[in-house]
């Protein structure tokens, strides 16, 4: 598979996941504001922080504007100068897909193109103004449709592996940031049982984890349980451990261990190490912020390695047969 094509597949996956996550965060945040248990400015600042756009927003609109939900959602949804705005994520996912139209299935391409057209031809904007909740829901179902079409109509070859890898590594970062930001916000406040429970449930919803959590924990909501669930639950598809394990599987399908035609991947070793490290933690013994920061930074470093090893296309000279097999790291 061409290195450039692998790169586009990976980023198509990442941007799709980012769009889905942003739409979910904005929808949940809009709902949380209505509960009025926290000042709106604090709730919206958290949403901005999850998207990594709190500082640009403050610089552009000032801190008073963080209380204005319309300003914040406009910024995170439509502003084309905001790198991770919803409209930019969908545009970038679609541009990546367009560049590799020959590997994306027709049905997946049509789904991604239709979502992009709806966001850019005024139809999405009208829905957002009239029914914001329905708008975010439609973006979410749009991205789910695309990934469903990818899974069920594309060849499950390396192109597919790279798309899914992009989705999973983006999701690790999103889940870690959502958890970190909420945890941080709660630590700033005096203890209040009702408020805490509302916030933790809202956090679960932002990660599509409400019902799965309830099933596993039979309704016992505590900060430690929620954090443990989002980080370590092996069967929840948005938990950190689940995503890292699946990403490892994808890399193993791109380069099976012992593959003679291909040197071992540093990114794969590093990913497996992060997964093992995380799975061995006990959340109650940890400084959660430090741990989540480590996960976010390590994931970024893994993406950097991946880029160097697989996408940058150095003119890798093929070694003489005598120099193989590769020593497995």
């Amino acid at each position: 598979m061409i290195s450039r094509v692998a790169d586009h597949c990976f980023w198509m996956g990442r941007y799709l996941e980012r769009a889905e996550s942003t739409s979910r965060v904005l929808r949940v945040t809009s709902s949380l504001v209505l509960d009025a248990i926290l000042p709106p400015a604090q709730v919206w600042t958290s949403a901005l922080a999850v998207c990594g756009e709190d500082e640009p927003f403050l610089a552009l609109h000032g801190s008073a504007a963080t209380a204005d939900g319309l300003r914040v959602t406009e910024f995170l949804t439509w502003d084309t100068t905001v790198p991770s705005s919803l409209v930019n994520s969908v545009y970038a996912a679609r541009e990546n897909a367009r560049s590799i139209r020959e590997v994306v299935s027709l049905e997946a391409w049509e789904a991604i193109n239709e979502l992009h057209l709806w966001l850019s031809d005024g139809g999405g904007r009208r829905e957002w103004e009239a029914r914001p909740d329905a708008f975010y829901r439609q973006v979410r179902t749009g991205t789910q449709l695309i990934l469903g079409a990818v899974e069920h109509t594309m060849l499950h070859d390396n192109a597919f592996d790279f798309i899914v890898l992009g989705v999973l590594l983006e999701r690790v970062g999103q889940t870690a940031r959502i958890l970190d930001v909420h945890h941080h916000a709660l630590m700033q406040l005096p203890p209040d049982l009702v408020r805490e429970e509302t916030l933790w449930l809202s956090l679960l919803r932002a990660c599509a984890g409400f019902e799965p959590f309830m099933k596993r924990k039979a309704g016992r909501v505590s900060p430690g349980e929620v954090a443990t669930f989002l980080m370590l639950e092996p069967r929840f598809p948005r938990s950190l451990v689940f995503c890292l394990r699946e990403a490892d599987q994808r890399l193993a399908s791109i380069r099976t261990p012992g593959d003679q035609s291909f040197p071992p991947l540093r990114c794969q070793a590093r990913l497996a190490a992060l997964e093992r490290f995380l799975a061995s933690r006990k959340v109650e013994d940890e400084d959660l912020h430090a741990l989540l920061t480590h996960v976010v930074e390590e994931t970024a470093a893994i993406c950097g390695e991946l880029h160097q090893e697989l996408f940058e296309a150095p003119q890798r000279a093929r070694p003489a047969p005598a120099e193989r097999p590769w020593a497995e790291a």
Partner: protein
């Protein structure tokens, strides 16, 4: 819908000018439906193209705008009899053009014989002296051509220009056909139309036939300038339809005079490149030392016979508009035959007597720059202003070799859906059939791109300037 349809004065109409039988077929096919029905079908077609991303790009801002190439579902119909004549004429023309390029980069017999003036060929910006003495794999150079035809007031097809470098548009032929079959199924069935969907397989076959290695070991790629190229959709479409990789120049490199692809597993050898990039951006070693674009060394690999490039570099010398007037001579010289297809009378400003005539008749002529395409750099005499004519007079006098002039040929018209008026009216069309040449000889796709000037009174069919397209139905029988 056709009851009020009238031809334009002076123009040949593809429907009204057809034989009674063909005309009856088309009329029966289109009868019955109301304008309302048709408007709905037409809207469906446009929505399908947009959703599927069947677009070309116009870059006016950083994001660029993608537009669909507007399609009119009312087809252009060509009878089996007419087609047989066109097909023979196109094959003849491509064979002569192949022989010409081969000769120009070898012995130059035709120049020595005086059938084509040497200064016209050797003075062409498209003639690449560095290629002299090189013979591409299997000796084929014009693997893919698009020959632009128009039909004059008398209904005679005439070649307007040859496109022997990177002719585009065939993806629209295939996409338009899908729309016809989906949206006009009954009419399509009744008309008995020859299929066009074999094109990608034929193209892959033609490319494989010139491979330096065995067909089953051959790796073919389509080389695109990238997603920002206006024809990117087509590049991607062809790669997809043939099941081969779509690559950009940065994906390729040359080592030991062989061409390789960067893959996640290291280098992979490439044997045939269907390149959709201009010669100038093919290899910085040869064409533009200052350029970072292209694949360094690919011309060396080609010269060694290690990779086939389709179309071959240097073909531009044969589709140069200054060389065009001599194609009938080429047919006589190389094939010993009389040309089967007519051309358009052409004045060459390089010749003093032609130049004088052109400068005196600018208001009646169409003036073209020999190395421009896409409808750019033209003077449409009959609709021009005095200033435009003055500008062209200056330019012609400054560099006469770059200009030719032709009388404005009346284009034929086709019944065309006018969405604003919700009616059918005559609009001018041209026609681009596609010819594939391989080791086995030329093959003409039974169909082609009919481009239509959608604006009332317009002669300009280019997609960048208000043109649209129609499916072209080549019938199996004569109606």
């Amino acid at each position: 819908m056709l009851s009020d349809y009238r031809a334009l004065p002076g123009a040949f109409d593809e429907l009204l000018g057809a034989t009674d039988k063909l005309r009856a077929t088309v009329e029966a096919m289109l009868a019955g439906g109301s304008a309302e029905d048709f408007a709905r079908t037409q809207a469906l077609a446009e929505a399908a193209l947009l959703n599927q991303g069947v677009t070309f790009s116009v870059y006016s801002d950083s994001r660029g705008v993608e537009k669909i190439f507007p399609v009119c579902l009312l087809p252009r119909v060509i009878s089996a009899h007419e087609w047989a004549r066109l097909e023979r004429g196109l094959q003849q023309r491509v064979l002569a053009l192949e022989a010409f390029v081969e000769d120009v980069y070898a012995e130059q017999r035709i120049l020595a014989a005086g059938a084509v003036p040497p200064e016209v060929v050797l003075g062409s910006a498209q003639y690449l002296p560095a290629l002299r003495g090189l013979r591409p794999p299997a000796g084929v150079r014009i693997h893919i051509s698009g020959i632009d035809l128009i039909r004059d007031g008398g209904g005679v097809f005439r070649v307007l220009e040859d496109n022997l470098r990177t002719p585009s548009g065939v993806s629209y032929v295939l996409e338009n056909r899908l729309l016809s079959k989906r949206l006009l199924a009954r009419a399509f069935e009744a008309a008995r139309v020859r299929p066009v969907n074999q094109y990608p397989a034929r193209l892959a076959g033609a490319l494989r036939s010139v491979s330096p290695v065995a067909p089953e070991e051959t790796t073919i790629v389509v080389l695109t300038p990238g997603p920002y190229n206006s024809a990117f959709f087509e590049h991607s479409f062809l790669a997809r339809q043939m099941g081969v990789e779509l690559v950009e120049a940065a994906d390729l490199f040359v080592d030991d005079d062989r061409l390789f692809l960067h893959t996640i597993r290291g280098p992979k050898r490439v044997h045939v490149v269907y390149r959709r990039t201009d010669d100038a951006f093919l290899d910085p070693e040869v064409f533009r030392p200052d350029s970072l674009l292209g694949v360094r060394g690919v011309m060396r690999a080609w010269a060694k016979g290690n990779v086939a490039l389709a179309n071959a570099p240097g073909n531009g010398v044969a589709d140069d508009k200054g060389v065009y007037p001599f194609v009938p001579e080429m047919i006589r010289f190389y094939l010993g035959e009389e040309p089967l297809l007519e051309q358009v009378p052409t004045y060459q400003c390089a010749r003093p007597e032609d130049r004088t005539y052109v400068l005196e008749h600018l208001a009646e002529l169409v003036v073209k720059v020999v190395d421009e395409a896409g409808g750019y750099g033209m003077l449409m005499g009959p609709t021009s202003t005095a200033e435009e004519r003055e500008e062209f007079r200056r330019r012609i006098l400054a560099d006469p070799r770059r200009y030719i002039a032709q009388p404005r040929i009346e284009l034929s018209t086709c019944p065309t859906w006018v969405s604003q008026g919700r009616c059918v009216a005559p609009r001018r069309v041209d026609f681009r059939p596609y010819v594939l040449n391989s080791a086995a000889g030329p093959w003409v796709l039974p169909g082609g791109l009919t481009r239509v000037a959608l604006r009332e009174g317009s002669y300009v069919v280019n997609s960048s300037q208000g043109g649209g397209s129609k499916d072209t139905w080549v019938l199996k029988g004569d109606g």
